[in-house]
Amino acid sequence: MNTLLFDLPSLVAGSIMVAMTFYALLGGADFGSGVWDLLASGPRARQQRELIAHAIGPIWEANHVWLIAAIVILFTGFPLAFAEISTALFIPLMLMLVGIVARGSAFVFRAYGSQTDSVRQVYGTVFAIASVVTPIFLGIIVGSISSGRIVVVDGAVRTDFFDAWLGAFPFAMGALTLCLFALLAAVYLAIEADSAHDEALREDFRRRALIAAIVTGGVAWISLFFIRQDAPVLYAGFVERPWTLATVGLSMVLGVGTIAALLKRRFYVARLTVVLQVICVMWTWAFAQYPYLVLPNLTIQQAAGPEITLQIAVVALVAGGLILFPSLFLLYRVFKGRKVFALIDAPAGNQTGARGA
């Protein structure tokens, strides 16, 4: 029970984690780009913003659907958990929704609306601020689910609507989410600028990625400190499974790797390490929390819907995935070029942009 995941409910719960991982890696980076839009500065501020708009324009809607996928799988497979989470975290969820609405609509209005600079600037500001606020609330929500404050008694949640999320750990998670998204975005954008052969812009984002990597590391350390105090059940989950400590260590090594790769201008390597780092953090967390869906006392098994629904859901997920992944592949190939899935940088000389330092 404690280690293996091959029962049906765990499989479905795992697929929610998969969707959330893709959401973080793809949608999260779109939010992170918005952060850099807000922080655009220096002589090339305008070009930075244009690169961002160009980079996320064709793909952000598809990237956003990962969140919807996670939600619908959650309420199909685990209706009880969905009801409890939405009740206890009503306020941060609502605030996150406001951010989602503001970000998406401001982005298209800027792209397709009137072209006067002052109006575009207003849309741009809304887009950028919403891109900062939304990941913070997303992190708060995830942090709350893990911090053991959503107490379910007799199939109903007990809450005053604040206690579940007003705490140091959820807020630390909000900050960490924001930093990780900004880090992802900076690395992706450096590659984007590189493919556009714009070295100055690439250096802008390289510098930003380095700063983000260091800040992320700091915030991660601080939140580790809060876990013990503020999320004791999760902490126990870590301690009970010694190998999770190893993966936490691995994510730190990867963080250092990202910094090293950025220093050496190995952008594809940096992207690889940062992606692995996010995956490592998210899945270590999921395993530490297993078998609980909502801490402290709602397990995956308890929250699971009937077997038949889970079976159909799994079949639907597999069948849908067969359509989805080739389509996504096509989308990124069309807009991100031939090297979109490159894992490491091609040897220098063979390549226009990223030469060694």
């Binding site: 324009g57 064709p58 793909i59 809607e61 598809a62 956003h64 659907v65 969140l67 919807i68 996928a69 939600i71 619908v72 799988i73 309420f75 199909t76 497979g77 685990f78 209706p79 009880l80 969905f82 009801a83 409890e84 989470i85 939405s86 009740t87 009503f90 969820l93 929704l97 406001v98 989602i100 609405v101 503001a102 970000r103 998406g104 609509s105 982005f107 298209v108 209005f109 792209a111 397709y112 609306g113 009137s114 609507f161 819907g305 009937p306 038949i308 629904t309 159909i312 859901a313 639907a316 997920l317 849908g320 359509i323 989805l324 389509s327 996504l328 096509l330 989308l331 069309v334 807009f335």
Partner: protein
């Protein structure tokens, strides 16, 4: 205002907002794909201009629809946790499938919008077709959920829990066919009528612009086709409602007494206290005939139901009248246009007719919204017909007035800006001279 009322208003408001964009998400891709296809077949660049112009509009509408839809998927749990806890595993499957439909729609829309110069013509057109199909499929899937609320199927209730769940029976519930048919046509009709009005107004400013002439002719044809089909689909809906939700039918028609050979009431103000519907034009036997195909059939009146189970009769009846009236306005205007076009063998572009077309344009939206008011208010007080009451599903959260007002303001702002952005696009649409030769 009670919190439950605020929750209902917020849900209704969000859906009323979303449905406009959803209709566009269903219809616009089809229209732009048809335009692009005609360009590829005939080489007439005006069709290419139309496809590009419409796809720009679709980009905006789609994005606002996507964020609004995201709000809805969360609101189901935020506002109605009791409902989702009970029914998530019964009707979650179509929602999950819808997730994939959204994915395909968003992916290929990205390729369509940003890929004019990047992919081959064949792939581009194919991407458009996929967007159009997945848009329609998204609608069909979510309506499975909605249909299930009206005619729940595929489960049994034991101790307040759903058991013996059969998700397929829930998906293909008895209300789904009529709702899916009628709503899908409504999406195309609403957008067609709106386009007819927009391009009509632009023709009033410049009658020789080939761009707007083609678009107007296209929209007029689409309004006519859907305008003929929709009353037939609506009649099918009414027959189904008569079987599945007799209280709703009674409210729609202001029918208080159970009656043989019930009359069809046009207009009228139903009064639940006197249990009469004064000021209506009554056509004897017609309601019985419309609902059951027999002028003598018995129509169940509201008196057959406990007073606590009555839907809000006045609103449902008025909304129904407005929807049906709007249908005939659109059909009349489009039909007249067809007659004019046939007799004059040219586009009906006299000023008075263009004005008429412009005035008819909003009736699609009006029918769309009032139709949903009929359907959803007519189901009250049930969130799941005869299974769960709306009041038993609502969140324990208090102060719901705050999110209600906030989202109302957000929706107003989004609506205003969307209209503004679209107006900007329309005003900057291309001018194509009449003699413009088709590309070689």
């Amino acid at each position: 205002m009670t919190d439950a009322l605020a929750a209902r208003l917020l849900m209704g408001l969000s859906l009323a907002f979303h449905i406009v964009f959803a209709a566009a998400g269903i219809a616009m891709p089809l229209f732009m794909v048809i335009a692009e296809w005609r360009y590829r077949r005939t080489g007439e660049t005006v069709w290419l201009s139309l496809a590009k112009a419409w796809s720009k509009g679709a980009a905006v509408l789609f994005a606002v629809g996507a964020v609004g839809g995201t709000v809805l998927s969360f609101e189901l749990g935020l506002l109605w946790p009791g409902f989702m806890q009970f029914s998530g595993s019964i009707i979650g499957v179509p929602f999950s499938l819808e997730g994939f439909a959204f994915f395909t729609e968003a992916i290929f829309l990205g390729i369509y919008l940003y890929g004019w110069e990047r992919v081959s013509p064949r792939l581009h057109l194919g991407a458009g077709v996929i967007v159009a199909v997945s848009g329609a499929v998204s609608g069909l899937l979510v309506l499975m959920v909605n249909g299930w609320q009206h005619a729940p199927a595929g489960f049994e209730v034991a101790n307040g829990q759903a058991v013996n769940i059969n998700p397929f029976a829930a998906m293909f519930n008895p209300a789904w066919p009529h709702i899916a048919l009628h709503m899908s046509i409504a999406a195309y009709q609403t957008i067609a009528a709106a386009m007819m009005g927009i391009h009509g107004i632009m023709l009033l400013r410049d009658r020789s612009n080939l761009f707007h002439r083609k678009a107007f002719a296209f929209a007029l044809t689409a309004t006519l086709i859907t305008g003929v089909l929709q009353p037939l689909a609506g009649d099918f809906s009414a027959k189904q409602v008569a079987q599945l939700q007799p209280a709703k039918l009674a409210a729609m028609e202001g029918q208080f007494k159970t009656e043989q050979g019930a009359p069809l009431r046009i207009g009228g103000i139903p009064n639940p206290n006197t249990q009469e519907t004064p000021l209506a034009i009554e056509i004897p036997g017609l309601l019985s005939w419309l609902a059951f195909g027999d002028t003598g059939a018995t129509v169940i009146g509201l008196e057959a139901f406990p007073r606590a189970d009555w839907p809000p009769v006045l609103l449902v009846h008025l909304a129904f009248q407005i929807m049906v009236g709007s249908a005939f306005v659109m059909l009349g205007v489009a039909g007249l246009g067809a007659v004019l076009a046939w007799r004059r063998r040219r586009l009906p572009d006299s000023r008075w007719y263009l004005w008429l077309a412009a005035l008819a344009a909003p009736f699609g939206l009006l029918a769309l919204e009032t139709g949903w008011v009929v359907t959803e208010l007519g189901r009250q007080p049930w969130i799941i017909q005869d299974i769960m009451r709306t009041l038993d599903a609502v969140t324990p959260m208090t102060n719901l007035g705050v999110p209600l007002v906030s989202f109302a303001l957000i929706y107003v702002a989004l609506a205003v800006i969307t209209v503004w952005v679209l107006t900007y696009q329309v005003l900057h649409s291309p001018r194509i001279a009449p003699g413009h030769a088709p590309a070689a």
